[in-house]
């Protein structure tokens, strides 16, 4: 069992820090303090954090903050970042308009 699987793992109380106001997820404007606090609410994984706070779920889908978030969670849990799973990747790789994604495919080369 992973050390972080036991959700009763003792991590102490949330202690406010001077840089809690620092933006981590630039798209959704989620701060370091919010992430740290959420760890104390039980969000021990990147996946749960993303679902709980929406960090890394904005327009860029975590291109910039994924690693940063993971490191903050790991530090709060006092484990190595590699203990935590990396963020999941989902299509589309870049934002894509509904009318483009939904276009019925007409592949002219179908019979080539």
């Amino acid at each position: 069992m992973h050390s972080i699987n036991d959700r009763n793992k003792e991590i102490g109380k949330f202690i406010p820090a001077a840089d809690d106001d620092l933006i981590i997820c630039r798209c959704e404007e989620i701060t370091k303090g919010e992430i740290r606090k959420a760890v104390h609410d039980g969000m021990f994984t990147v996946t749960e954090m993303r679902r709980y706070l929406r960090c890394g779920m904005g327009l860029c889908q975590g291109q910039t903050c994924a690693k940063l978030t993971k490191n903050i969670i790991a530090r709060e849990l006092n484990v190595s970042p590699s203990t935590l799973e990396p963020a999941t990747s989902r299509s589309p790789m870049r934002p894509i308009e509904m009318k483009i994604l939904g276009k019925e495919e007409v592949n002219k080369n179908e019979r080539d």
């Binding site: 840089d19 620092l22 933006i23 981590i24 630039r26 370091k32 291109q63 910039t64 690693k67 940063l68 970042p81 590699s82 799973e85 990396p86 999941t88 990747s89 989902r90 299509s91 589309p92 790789m93 870049r94 894509i96 483009i100 994604l101 276009k103 495919e105 592949n107 080369n109 179908e110 080539d112």
Partner: protein, 529 residues
């Protein structure tokens, strides 16, 4: 649905090299790239590459890009630009967005060579306009011809930070400092030395405390950090800047593999999440390969070889070449790759404390802390024996895989030997004719021609010069030291340009004889409008 033998995602060094190799074996290959221009980062890399001939050493990145693209096109590879692969699905299917349309394609094999993206580091004010990635600066300058800013502070002293700092200087920007929280410069010493001799100061064991300004960057405060990277009070320094460049490493852009269900590995040595691959780049899903930075952060030269390997393996997988042929190809490629993965900066040596060169010479700590060699270092690395007449002086003190200088000298004055990570040595039994090809060939700009017999009072120093406007013959300016400090008056004797030098001008200046071991750069005293 249209089906190709091989779909390659990414037209950078790895992707194009893979395409060339596969097309040579007769595969029908398509390469998709989301950018308007092919070449990946190559087209932003304007410095000369390291390595040896097989690795395209001393060729500038963007020219390598042009060569690869021409070769791929000639072999019938379909390179589709402005074509974003938005997803990779089961059965090796991809969705590609081109303009206002999407297309579904399948490949019998897929090579993903999507490269890397820049890491960032949060600090107070990091979201202000004017804080940009170093890659962003490179894109603005070298692709779009615009200065990212006027006064710039670089955060990060790895090769990207160093190379981009030099490029910023070349573009006419002012780099006020290079800052790194680490106690040592992370990139090649020769890259640091190029920047240092232009007068850019290094602040190691420092980090950005805050960036501030009204709506945009106006000021940055840095401070010293202790060994646990905590700011030390009352060490603040303030700079007036309009731009902060962040160069704190790269992460593989491996999302497509994860989407397709490949087994992943989170590996800090490789820069982050990478697909689990065999040594030739094949992932846990048969027929899906990874090549280049997406499989682990290295550099463009190794990415090209990894691309070739994946191209050969895809060919064999699809029956376009025999396994014997594959084995032979891979053996040669592996040899080339191995020669690049040597030296002080090799992945296998990351995190190791290196105290001497492979020749047994204690390394320069000044270079690691300040970006330039001290006088004592110079004495240690080059023999004190006086050489008559014009001769090369080589200030290359770290074992990195690179040997163009050896090939450049037609008189065989410079020796490296078979192991290309060895330090070059000047063979005093051979006579230098002062052609300067070695000066232009050195990717690290670490070779100078010195003539201490020019006259009884003066010496001539020939140095690589890649700035505009070029000084004129007869122009009087100042010679500076390795750290960019003004040393003495200097007069330009000649400025040679030649196709063989590939945009590296050879500037020869006259300095007082006593300064011949110290004068390493020429500074204009007034600018010419």
């Amino acid at each position: 649905m249209k089906r190709y033998d091989l779909i390659i995602v990414g037209a950078g060094p790895a992707g194009l090299s893979a395409a060339i190799e596969a097309a040579k074996k007769g595969l029908h290959v398509v390469v998709f790239d989301e950018n308007l221009r092919p070449g990946g980062q190559l087209f932003k890399q304007i410095h000369k590459f390291f390595g040896s001939k097989e690795h395209q050493a001393k060729v500038r990145g963007f020219n390598i890009g042009k060569k690869l693209l021409a070769e791929a096109t000639q072999l019938g590879v379909e390179v589709q630009l402005n074509a974003t692969v938005t997803g990779m699905y089961l059965d090796k299917e991809v969705i590609v967005k081109k303009g206002d349309e999407i297309f579904h394609f399948k490949g019998d094999a897929i090579i993903v060579a999507t490269g890397a993206s820049e890491n960032s580091v949060p600090f107070k004010g990091w979201t202000l306009p004017g804080v940009i990635g170093a890659g962003a600066a490179q894109t603005m300058m070298n692709l779009h011809g615009i200065k990212p800013g006027k006064k710039i502070l670089m955060l990060g002293s790895g090769n990207v930070g160093l190379v981009v700092s030099f490029q910023l200087l070349q573009a006419g920007c002012d780099v006020v400092a290079i800052v790194d929280a680490a106690p040592h410069i992370g990139g090649y010493g020769v890259h640091a030395a190029k920047v240092a001799r232009c007068g850019v100061p290094f602040y190691l064991s420092h980090t950005i405390q805050s960036v501030s300004g009204d709506e945009k960057v106006e000021k940055v405060v840095i401070g010293a950090v202790d060994s646990s990277f905590t700011l030390i009070p009352e060490t603040e320094k303030t700079f007036t800047v309009d731009t902060i460049c962040v160069a704190v490493g790269l992460s593989p852009m491996s999302q497509l593999f994860k989407m397709a269900g490949c087994k992943m590995d989170d590996n800090p040595k490789k820069g982050g999440q990478v697909p689990v691959c065999n040594e030739w780049g094949e992932t846990s899903i048969k027929g899906i390969f990874a090549a280049g930075d997406v499989a682990g952060i290295e550099e463009a030269s190794s990415a090209m070889i990894e691309g070739k390997m994946a191209g050969v393996c895809a060919s064999e997988y699809l029956g376009y070449c025999s396994s014997a042929e594959q084995a032979k190809d891979l053996e040669n490629m592996a040899k080339d790759l191995d020669s690049l993965r040597q030296g002080m900066f090799a992945i296998k040596n990351r995190g190791k404390k290196i105290e001497t060169t492979m020749e047994g010479i204690p390394i320069s700590t000044n270079l690691l802390k300040k970006g330039f060699l001290s006088d004592a270092d110079i004495k240690r690395f080059s023999p004190t024996k006086k050489i008559a007449g014009v001769h090369p002086v080589i200030e290359c003190t770290q074992n990195i895989p690179c040997n163009p200088c050896q090939d450049a000298c037609v008189r065989h004055c410079i020796k490296i030997g078979k192991d290309i990570t060895a330090l070059p040595v000047v063979d005093t039994t051979k006579t230098c004719m002062g052609c300067g090809l070695c000066v232009a060939a050195c990717s690290g700009q670490a070779i100078f021609l010195v003539n201490e017999d020019f006259s009884s009072d003066y010496a001539l120093i020939t140095l690589p010069y890649e700035f505009l406007p070029l000084p004129q013959k007869g122009e009087k300016g100042k010679a500076t030291t390795r750290s960019g400090e003004i040393l003495c008056d200097a007069e330009v004797i000649s400025v040679k340009t030649s196709k063989a030098y590939d945009h590296t001008a050879l500037l020869t200046m006259k300095v007082p004889l006593a300064m011949s071991e110290k004068a390493r750069f020429f500074k204009k005293v007034k600018s010419y409008a």
